[in-house]
């Protein structure tokens, strides 16, 4: 018995009766006519694609890209459906549609962390037949990897994305510092700069990042865990490793040396949009964020520090350790329930083509996922930070790749948030408890019938 399935053959007896009743009643509301209009009919030639994405961070660059597509593909029109910026809210909304086998979604932006989940659930179309191996070779191998799961490709990388360190070049120069290469250096610099500026600028803090209880907390903490040479999970994804020394050390470091010290405790309430504000207002020396911050911080219309910003890879935990950063990014994916998969692929091929990636790099500062475009002279000249970004991208660690990731992420968020926000919790006990919860979930995940 399939209690949840949307497959009509599995409907339970009560549902059709209820359905009929509801339909009859619904007519009364009169709203039905308006709602029906956009779902009916099998259009012949002109095709409308519905593209679920977030509110574009560079509307003009996107508008131009869509206009170009309309020129070259006059029979396909694109309707953008804007979903929330927050990855989790976006995820919930999109998966609601996919669970419903909603044919009105044709293609969507897919966060790289959803690939195993969507692949396993059948919510993303395998692209193996459409995306030829030759074409795949044009993309950075590490970027291609984010879209693969279980031997299939489910998404085309739209960009490369990983955590970076932004800093106030003017302040560092004033105090004679080179950009920090280790966390110890960063802390020393932050302390001496804030001390030196105290009378002039009492609101200046050393650091701003994201430590709210939400998906981004996992990224932030994973970077520190990696810094200590630790991992969140064993490579075979059978066991959680929160109670290993490296992972515990990372939590202690953030709790004792960053939050409430070089950073205000307010970072415990920050996601990306809140955390960037102190930085662009000139109230933070260092800032960890995703690459788009370069554009924001250098835009004189909304930033008080335009032209005074530097960007480098995230610091290492010690000079002899490798740098680490969290892998982020968004993939173009096609809904398996779309009736226009061919056209959706046409659009993806267009929007991820070399000329368009160049356009996005120049107009919006989005780092290309195609190797050739990333090395383009003109692109690099406009975006000097792409070099640092590429270097970081290759060492970036991905969050655990399992279809159960949303549930595991909630446990991780809870664990990190508790251990950072409550100073007096028993760290080891909390870690062991979270380990047990995650291991239990993984065990359920392995219990195939």
């Amino acid at each position: 018995m399939t209690w949840w399935s949307r497959d009509p053959s599995h409907r339970t007896g009560a549902a059709p009766i209820a359905a009929a009743l509801i339909c009859a009643l619904a007519v009364v509301t009169g709203a039905i006519a308006a709602d029906r209009a956009d779902t009916s009919g099998e259009p012949l030639k002109p095709v409308t694609l519905r593209f679920v994405s977030w509110k574009a961070d560079h509307p003009r660059a996107w508008d131009e890209a869509f206009a170009r597509f309309a020129d070259s593909h006059p029979h396909i029109s694109i309707v953008r459906e804007l979903a929330p910026h927050s990855s989790t809210a976006y995820h919930d909304l999109l998966t609601q549609k996919l669970k419903n086998r909603d044919a009105t979604v044709d293609l969507f932006f897919m966060d790289i962390i959803w690939v195993p989940e969507f692949a396993s659930a059948g919510w993303a179309l395998p692209l193996d037949d459409l995306f030829s191996p030759e074409e795949q070779e044009h993309f950075l191998p590490a970027a291609m990897e984010t879209g693969r799961y279980g031997g299939h490709v489910y998404g085309v990388p739209s960009r490369i994305d990983s955590g970076m360190l932004f800093y106030r070049a003017d302040l560092l120069a004033k105090y004679g510092f080179a950009p920090p290469r280790t966390w110890a250096e960063l802390i020393t610099q932050a302390e001496s700069i804030t001390r030196g500026e105290r009378t002039l600028h009492p609101a200046l803090r050393g650091y701003s990042g994201q430590f709210k209880q939400y998906e981004g907390l996992v990224c932030s903490m994973m970077e520190f865990v990696g810094g200590y040479g630790g991992h969140l999970m064993t490579p075979d994804l059978r066991h959680s490793l929160l109670s290993t020394p490296a992972t515990l050390a990372a939590v202690e470091f953030v709790r004792d040396q960053i939050i409430g010290h070089i950073a205000s405790r307010a970072v415990l309430t920050y996601q990306e949009p809140e955390s960037v504000v102190p930085f662009i207002q000139g109230n933070a020396v260092f800032h960890r964020n995703w690459p788009y911050t370069w554009e924001v911080a250098n835009d004189p219309r909304r930033s008080k520090i335009a032209g005074k910003v530097g960007v480098v890879p995230l610091p290492r935990m010690a000079a002899d350790r490798p740098p680490t950063t969290a892998l982020g990014g968004w993939l173009y994916a096609i809904s398996p329930f779309s009736r226009h998969q061919r056209e959706a692929w046409d659009f993806i091929r267009f929007i991820s083509s070399a000329p368009l990636q160049r356009h996005f790099a120049l107009a919006a500062g989005i780092a290309p996922s195609r190797a050739a475009v990333l090395q383009d002279e003109q692109v690099l000249e406009a975006n000097p930070h792409f070099r640092a970004q590429l270097a970081m991208f290759h060492g970036a660690t991905s969050r655990p790749r399992t279809p159960l990731y949303p549930a595991i992420s909630n446990i991780l968020q809870r664990y990190f948030s508790r251990t950072l926000a409550y100073r007096d919790v028993n760290l080891r006990a909390e870690a062991e408890r979270a380990d047990a919860q995650i291991d239990r979930l993984l065990e359920i995940g392995r219990s195939a019938r």
Binding site: W3, K212, R265, P403, A421
Partner: protein
């Protein structure tokens, strides 16, 4: 003559039943049936992202899981604490507001309207509003407390206890006036003569309140208490908009926890077990309600 009257009456009875049918259909299709379906769902292990696992019947395993899960326990404690604290405060504040808007004074209509405004403001709006008031940089709370001493500004939502209290405050602000309305109705039932008599006997303001108002208000207070208890058990919007459950699960309420399990994690079976547990908790509370007050109402209705 007698016979036809009887027939008319029974036909009338049928008509009466028919007038109840639409309400019954709605209630059964969209409230009673779903609760039963939720219970059945909670006996299966269904993980939407892993269809390969099948959907095995697991009996009460999801409930066992729920009892073992520290996050669920935390969510239950947070919710219970929220219910206890917010209803107590709402009742006290509601009583005060009710006493004020019950008094006779010019412009009473305007004051009553003002008191009602928080209650009609959408919870989503109220949540954003309180989030802004307690913002670490732009917030009114910091401005009032510290003025321009910016370095002393407090990041309110960063402390688990404070974040929880802000959630309580937002709820108290929004729904005290609802409690006040119910209490006001009780106040209006107390005859003025009682107060007159007490005044003649020389009873002071406080004595009149303590010996007349409060005892006679008991039914209304009890009603407000139970209405608010059951309603605040369902808190969701506040946590969803203000904190997403953080920091450290300090504002992780049961409905948010269940929502995450069901719709973020796709664990339908487990999420249903959470829902059914919330339902049972509220159901027993409402039985209490029916016993304490409802029976009196039901007798009158019967």
């Amino acid at each position: 003559m007698m016979k036809s009257a009887l027939r008319a009456l029974s036909a009338d009875h049928a008509a009466a039943w028919w007038m109840l049918v639409p309400a019954l259909v709605f209630t059964f299709t969209l409230a009673v049936y779903p609760v039963i379906a939720s219970f059945i769902l909670s006996l299966y292990r269904i993980i939407l992202s892993m269809p390969a696992l099948g959907e095995p019947f697991v009996g009460l395993e999801n409930y066992a899981e729920l009892l073992r899960d520290p996050t669920a326990r935390q969510a239950f404690l947070v919710t219970a604490g929220f219910v206890a604290l917010s209803t107590t405060l709402e009742l006290i504040l509601g009583l005060c507001i009710a006493l004020v808007i019950h008094a006779q004074f010019p412009g009473r209509g305007w004051v009553r309207a003002a008191a009602l405004i928080p209650w009609v403001i959408p919870t989503a709006v109220a949540s954003q509003m309180w989030r802004y008031i307690f913002n670490d940089q732009y917030g009114l709370a910091n401005l009032l407390l510290f003025g321009d001493r910016v370095a002393e500004y407090v990041p309110w939502f960063a402390s688990p206890g404070v974040a929880f209290l802000i959630m309580v405050l937002a709820d108290v602000w929004k729904t005290s006036s609802f409690a006040a309305l119910l209490i006001l109705a009780g106040l209006q039932l107390i005859p003025d003569e009682l107060y007159e008599a007490a005044r003649i006997d020389g009873a002071g303001l406080w004595q009149r309140f303590w010996h007349i108002t409060l005892p006679l208000l008991r039914p209304a207070l009890l009603l407000a208490l139970l209405f608010r208890t059951m309603d605040s058990f369902r808190v969701f919007d506040l946590a969803f908009v203000m904190t997403q459950g953080g920091p450290g699960d300090a504002t992780q309420v049961l409905q948010l926890y269940g929502y995450k399990a069901m719709f973020t994690e796709g664990r339908m079976g487990y999420g249903s077990a959470v829902s059914v547990s919330v339902f049972l908790a509220i159901f027993f509370l409402s039985l209490l309600y029916i016993r304490a007050i409802g029976s009196r109402l039901l007798e009158r209705n019967a």
